[in-house]
């Protein structure tokens, strides 16, 4: 069993329940939407190109204690280095190496994609505020259908820092979503390559479930 993270609002709930036990398979999520660009454009994605994503959360699990009416959560993905395109059963697959995801909680709510990134507001307005989460990608893959107009992505991360984790955690974050181009009918600001609609999921390895004395003692006997 791994101890991954404790959402802020759950910490208070857990303290009185001293013997909380992990609930496996439970995740807390954040839904986000934004845009991405890659050096040299995409598609094609050439080996060595860097993918950058800037996005804003439009839903956050109540467990995180963030009111999107007063604070924005902004996502900044950077340092993902393309390994180049590969055919994957007729679709296009791009594996990336390296890369970080940072999420900021910012009461100024001034995120602005602008045009032709990087620019005066992107990524700058997406990296303001307090650090909510920082993670390092252990894997990130982008897929496109044969037309190259729509696709999906998924990635896993180690948690490194931020207000929602109390320690580093290994492979505790998963993110997935859709990636769309102008050819799919997506609206995309000038200079960006992709529209990104994704979900951030973090393991809730510690929950507020109560446990009997017997099951608590059994944990220490394992």
């Amino acid at each position: 069993m791994k101890r991954a993270f404790v959402p802020k609002v759950l910490v208070g709930a857990l303290l009185p329940a001293l013997f909380a036990v992990p609930a496996l398979g439970q995740v807390y999520s954040v839904d986000y939407l934004g845009y991405a660009w890659e050096t040299g454009g995409i598609l094609p994605s050439d080996a060595g190109d860097e993918l950058v994503i800037v996005s804003v959360a439009d839903y956050v699990d109540p467990a995180f204690g963030v009111d999107l009416g007063t604070d924005e959560l902004t996502f900044h993905v950077y340092g993902l280095v393309s390994g180049g395109e590969a055919d994957f059963f007729g679709n296009t697959m791009i594996n990336y190496a390296g890369g970080y995801l940072e999420i900021y909680q910012d009461p100024t709510r001034n995120a602005d994609w602008g045009v032709n990134p990087p620019n005066a507001t992107a990524p700058g307005s997406f990296t303001e505020g307090s650090l909510f989460f920082r993670g390092a990608f252990t894997a990130f893959t982008l897929f496109f259908d044969p037309s190259g107009s729509y696709g999906s992505f998924e990635g896993t991360l180690d948690g490194l820092a931020g207000s929602i984790i109390d320690d580093v955690c290994s492979d505790c974050v998963y993110t997935w979503g859709g990636a769309f181009t102008l050819d799919a009918g997506a609206q995309i600001p000038q200079g960006y390559d992709l529209q990104i609609d994704g979900v951030f999921e973090i393991d809730a390895a510690v929950s507020s479930e109560s446990a009997s004395w017997g099951s608590v003692k059994a944990l220490f006997n394992n």
Partner: protein, 206 residues
């Protein structure tokens, strides 16, 4: 796209003023999907809609006081395989201030006022891995209490785009897939648009 003509009383009437940068417009949703078992059966999807600020919905929605849900029904699987092809579905956006949407009771997604009703003309669903995929479809809006908020020439051909996942952690009990996507016009809906005198006169010459 235009909903109203704004005539500019400027001396240089032949100069068209370019549209300023606008916020991206979309109906953002996050939902759960029942997939059909065979060709001829239907796909259904129940979702909650979110305020994707600084992007904006194509028509104003009061997220502070209402819950909005987007529901797909009757979307028939016509060709199986990868990709799958679907046709004939209905998309409805509901506005509700009474019951919170709950995946354990799908009726909570279909109560309230049907503000937009559309036809999901076609949709392709592609799986890239055993768990991860994407869908691309087209929506024509045909009804609902807010249909008139969209000019007739702007009601057809909206993109229906979504990522899909079937990991156990992401899928609610009783469903097959989670979908995270949006419905959006291919160009922003605007209140008015600058045009030249020549273009205005041309409209009356038809």
């Amino acid at each position: 796209m235009k909903t109203r003509i704004l005539v500019l009383l400027v001396a240089a009437a032949s100069v068209v003023v370019p549209m300023t940068a606008q916020a991206q417009q979309l109906f953002d949703f996050n939902g759960q999907t029942d997939l059909p078992d065979m060709v001829g059966s239907d796909l259904t999807m129940y979702s909650r809609m979110f305020d994707a600020s600084p992007a904006v919905p194509p028509i104003p929605l009061d997220f502070a006081n209402f819950e909005f849900t987007l529901v797909v029904t009757g979307l028939e699987l016509v060709t199986d395989g990868n990709p799958q092809a679907y046709a004939g579905g209905t998309v409805i956006i509901y506005q509700d201030d009474a019951t919170a949407a709950d995946y354990a009771n799908t009726g909570t997604f279909t109560d309230g006022t049907a503000i937009l009703v559309g036809s999901l003309v076609s949709l392709n669903r592609t799986m890239f891995t055993s768990s991860l995929g994407s869908v691309l479809g087209t929506v024509d809006w045909t009804g609902g209490t807010r249909l008139d908020d969209i000019a007739p020439e702007d009601q057809d051909g909206w993109a229906f785009l979504s990522g899909t996942i079937n990991r156990a952690d992401s899928v609610e009990p009783g469903f097959d897939e989670a979908w995270d996507g949006k419905v959006e016009p291919q160009e922003p809906i605007v209140d008015d648009e600058a045009t030249s005198w020549g273009s205005v006169k041309a409209l009356f010459s038809r």
